[in-house]
Point group: D2
Chain length 414, copies 4
């Protein structure tokens, strides 16, 4: 049985690793080396970092004879692990011209071969770490796309060709009632893999509430803009108002005003006019919160979200199915009540669950140390690998982040 | 009965207003005009701002014939009310040389006289706003002290003379067990005045926990320092570690290393050697959180805090009793199990309670718009007016703030 | 004769010291404690710094029994002398609440008494340093006025009452021809006191040139503004254009657009409409240079200036004569061909003259270390003590400085 | 004769264009896309910018039927020409992932073909602009090397292989006397091509001086370091001292302390121990000036430099001869009295010569608008194309620049 588990894991390892490379394939070399801002990383860095993660967490830990493939990988590809030594400052990742992109691919292949050559004994001991590494690489697959979008979008460059897009219209927004009470959220051990921050499963008291039946659409956002939502400080958090002013925000990220009137959005399939029926995306927490206040509603807490939406079927998955195409990827087909169009800002600051226990050892730095100054997003986006669309998954970003696929779902008290 | 309520309120008005002036009395004019950093304000500004608050919220609102005492007060003394027009940027408050300090006192007297001259009818309508104004002024009394401490401490200047200080020793730290369960926190309407952010009273589920019997002491903090607590990133939140490095923190704010060894603390009675038995103070959330992790404990949530400590007797009050003196003010006499030595960082991000409703009108900006990027502190400090030491009171500051009287109480899971 | 020299110097010492105090007299205490920006200093700081200068350079150097009046003066009032130990960072001068303003005056009196009590022997040895100290204090008299103007002007507060102002009209601008050739500039030893940077007298080759007969007027500046001078990058230095955009400059400092049209200028006598006939003032080097280019002219070099204008009679002096009043101080009466209305930007970067020798000892830091990234201004302003209006005097400021009394004179090649 | 001039110019065009491509050949694609800091540019940008320069200044100006090769080239490759429209901010040049490097080479080829296809008439009219474009491209050849060195050096990556290096020892430093007097400097029209900033030839008065016989060596710099030169503020300009502290400078750029003692220098041939006999390089003006003061000498003015060294034979040229190799390129073989090892900081702020006339039209922005806040460097470096080593050539950089090949020659008064 262990043998089967190992085989199954290694098969997923190969598939996930190949998928990352496939995601980079449509890009020019130049696109893969640019870093648009400190928060985003070059594609090359993602390719290397995920590889370094397996090398450091699996090969160097469990294979006594293993020697690192490159001495400079630890400095170049360590993201934020203080316990693993010096690393290049985050804002300077594009300055690591070595390893080159070709060398980064050679690094990937060398580590893949070493993983394939794991002895049964080593593989068995490494199994939990292999699993974390696979999940970790899937997280970075989404980041490859969001980060490169921040490079391509301002240049109006497309990642894929646009296919025909049918505007299905927008279903009316309903607020579904929930009684709340003493509910349970979080991931139980029996549920299979989860990150440490999803656990333990625990009780939460919820007052009665109502949850929006779908995400807020671009058309509804246009109404907010036309109503002066970006100009009324009464709608905004104080920090949000200051941030909005400092950056001159007037619309979601990647929107620009058309010289002929109307708004144009940069998508992964290039620029097109904003489509009113699709979920709005690339808004910050501050904007989502202001929109909710303008709507005489609020953002849901993550417990409300998980209680109300945890059982809902997810949207069609893109990365996993290989069906990654512009309509799906970035055109936000209107899929009522589905998780997986855009990440949904919640009103919950990112904090540990009661009795939270971080991963062991080095991996203790994986999630816990970021539980401050961020907000939880739930659901998943059209960039998210399908197996990550689980109900208990907690994504998190600072309230001013806009380059992720972040949208809005409303909630209300009953 | 309304007449009695009015008389009672006006009597408290006079007492509180006089107390603010009394707090400034020991200061040189120079001390009252300096602004140590954007977060802190000059004493003169506090004197004017609290006065402007009454003028704007009471006199201009309820007295039709009232004309503002000075045309420049609105620009100079508006703190953050977007709905009330342009205002001087926060960081430049010391550049308002007009009104002068003398003129600010004249402004106070003019507004006090106008309040004293309120008709019964006006006073009755204004009563809730008068109450908010009084509570507001009391909040600024504490800020007068914390802000001027940030001016005096680096210069080694005393605000009061030191009286004999007896080191009472430190009681052993016990962790008192609590069963938790479905509990209620928050302020109910019948409890008298409360700020909007304390309401409504609502249910929260608490897992069983244990609460520290007293605040962490300076002696315990020294042990943390000697154990390398400031040098071990594994103890710190990621943002905390970056903040610590950027500022070069090695000890609480206002501590400096003595040339002859040991540590010296600047208190309101001037500098003295750190007293191990008194509660540590002037630490940021980041430091409090790192200390808790080093202690194999954690910070309590605000619900745990209120549930466990809400019924505990508070320490001797200082501002209210007129007994403000150095021992009490800033030497932190060890008072086991008392609220009121130092504000206690909780692990709770500052967020609205379920069904939170902001104050009406302009006062909607009082609390709600700050519910982001801050943490709740509970309890109160030796600078806090006694009537503010209520169990439901929610203080809040960003996690890097150190100039407030902020200390640490530990908690644990059971 | 030495005795007479000592008596004469001490008499000037008393007069100059009294003049500084007199300059502060019209100000509120609050005005004297504010620091508008890092480049400007509070009046209190000037009062203390000039005193510390005499204490450190004269009393501590030549009077063996002298003990510093206050231990904190060295930290508080040292401006930039690296050789004299730690000092408060320049940007934080308003945070020195001690010494208080009263204590600063007590400090002045104590040092004045110690200077008055100098023995003949000590005074004789100290004579050159006394002279430097007097000249130094006079330099700070001008800074007291320019720095406090930067506090008062944005508040629309007057330093003096306005007296009747007669618009004398503007003389036509002529360009007076000069042959140039091998000329001498700089201060010769026989000329009496000069700063080290004015020496030695040395030869310079000048091509034939023509010098403007008077300063550029506010009316001419308005024409530049109306012609789009602030919007045409072709007129500006690259650094100047970037600076202009960063600060949003559209007019000289202290000018603001009137709601009813036209421009209003904040002067030391309060605000008034811009008077077209008076010299424009409070412009940066960048603006002066752009104006000159727009005028198909250029700024003169300092050698041209000194050669052409060194023999011209100066304007009526203000500080010295006691006749300091609004017309003179800041209303710039049109005085054709007079030095002393406003400092005149030259095209000369501030650099040492050939064979420059700094002052001895500590005073080596007085001028030489600033010979970088600044431009020389010549002439003097209505704020300048009359004895400083000598032809060889070199004032210097960075090219973006606008809070000094800096104006424009044009020159051309022949 | 015009035909011959055209042919000669086009032959040089081809040679220079090919040389730029050859300089990039040893680099990985990754190296060519990185931007180490706002001041430096990616190699790809240099390849594109020099091409855009010919397209804009020659083809679009003189060939009526010419259409730009790429619509995005103007935005991407305009360096600083305000008159030519919007452009990517300098600090973000690495974010232009399109054109890709391949497309940039295609752009080069397309423009080269259009230049080759110029009609005789167009070529004749364009001849002066072609010449400027060639000279301009040669300037960028040096920048390709200095900018990519700033990418490679911190990574310890070599651009070329090191060849044997013979330490020839250091000739004693002599100070050669010059009488000065009324001399002429600057470029006369008959001297062939020169940039506008080198003209006109004009008279300058020089006091008698003495000029160092060779550049300061790394060994002499080590002595300065060991004598505490970086720790003594008395040696430094005020701005220099502040800059030094802010950056933590302790040695020239690209030097690092060896774990085993001694200093290591990153050169274009990789890292090696500092060689005492070669000229020191990569020092800022501030450091050069401090070194000179420590040496009881000074930096020469540019007029002194040109008068004393204008007739001296230059060192072996590297770029032009094709003999670019590590010894020559970056190991600074000791060549006494030769120009061309390293650029030499002068004490002269970069300013226009008397009667300076900028190039016509768009090219007016080429040099003149930068005549502020910079210092002139003379001579040339081992990275400089040989034909640029002319005696009147004026290079210029801000005083804190260290990534250029900037060294030190001393001078003294006689």
């Amino acid at each position: 049985m262990t043998r089967r588990a190992i085989d199954e894991t290694l098969a997923r390892y190969r598939a996930v690793r190949a998928q990352t490379v496939a995601l980079a394939a449509p890009l020019a070399v130049d696109d893969q080396l640019a870093q648009s801002m400190p928060d985003a990383s070059p594609t090359k860095w993602h390719l290397g970092h995920t590889t370094w993660f397996f090398e450091k967490m699996v090969l160097e830990t469990f294979v006594s004879a293993y020697r690192p493939h490159r001495p400079d990988a630890a400095f170049t590809f360590n993201s934020y692990y203080e316990s693993l030594g010096d690393r290049r400052p985050r804002a300077e990742r594009s300055l690591s011209t070595r390893p080159t992109l070709d060398e980064a691919h050679a690094y990937r292949r060398a580590v893949d071969e070493a993983i394939a050559a794991l002895s049964i004994d080593d593989a068995e001991r490494a199994l939990p770490r292999l699993e974390v590494g696979i999940q970790h690489e899937q997280q970075h697959q989404e980041l490859v796309l969001t980060d490169v979008k921040s490079v391509l979008a301002p240049q109006g460059v497309a990642y894929v060709e646009r296919t025909a897009e049918r505007d299905a219209g927008t279903a009316p927004l309903r607020f579904e009632p929930f009684d709340g009470g003493l509910v349970e959220i979080g991931n139980a051990a029996r549920d299979g893999f989860a990150f440490d921050n999803e656990r333990p499963r625990h009780r939460v008291w919820l007052d009665p509430f109502a949850m929006g039946s779908r995400l807020v659409t671009a058309g509804e956002w246009l109404a907010f803009m036309e109503a002066g939502g970006y100009d009324d400080p009464a709608l905004w958090l104080s920090d949000g108002w200051a941030t909005k002013k400092a950056h001159g925000w007037r619309a979601p990220c990647y929107w620009r005003e058309s010289p002929g009137g109307g708004w144009i959005e940069a998508t992964m399939a290039g620029e097109r006019a904003v489509v009113p029926s699709v979920p709005v995306c690339h808004v910050s927490y501050y904007e989502a919160d202001a929109f909710a206040r303008w709507s005489r509603a609020r953002l849901p807490s993550e417990a409300e979200w998980e209680h109300a939406l945890g059982g809902i079927a997810v949207g069609s998955n893109l990365l996993e199915s290989g069906a990654f195409h512009p309509r799906a990827a970035d055109a936000h087909a209107p899929i009522a009540q589905a998780r997986g169009d855009a990440w949904e800002w919640t009103a919950s600051p990112y904090a540990p669950y009661p009795r939270f226990v971080p991963f062991d050892g080095t991996l203790a730095e994986y999630n816990g140390k970021f539980m401050c100054n961020q907000f939880v997003l739930r659901g998943g986006s059209c960039f998210t690998p399908g197996s990550h669309l689980r109900p208990t998954y907690r994504n998190f970003f600072p309230p001013d982040a806009r380059w992720q696929m972040s949208g809005v779902r409303l909630a209300r008290w009953r």
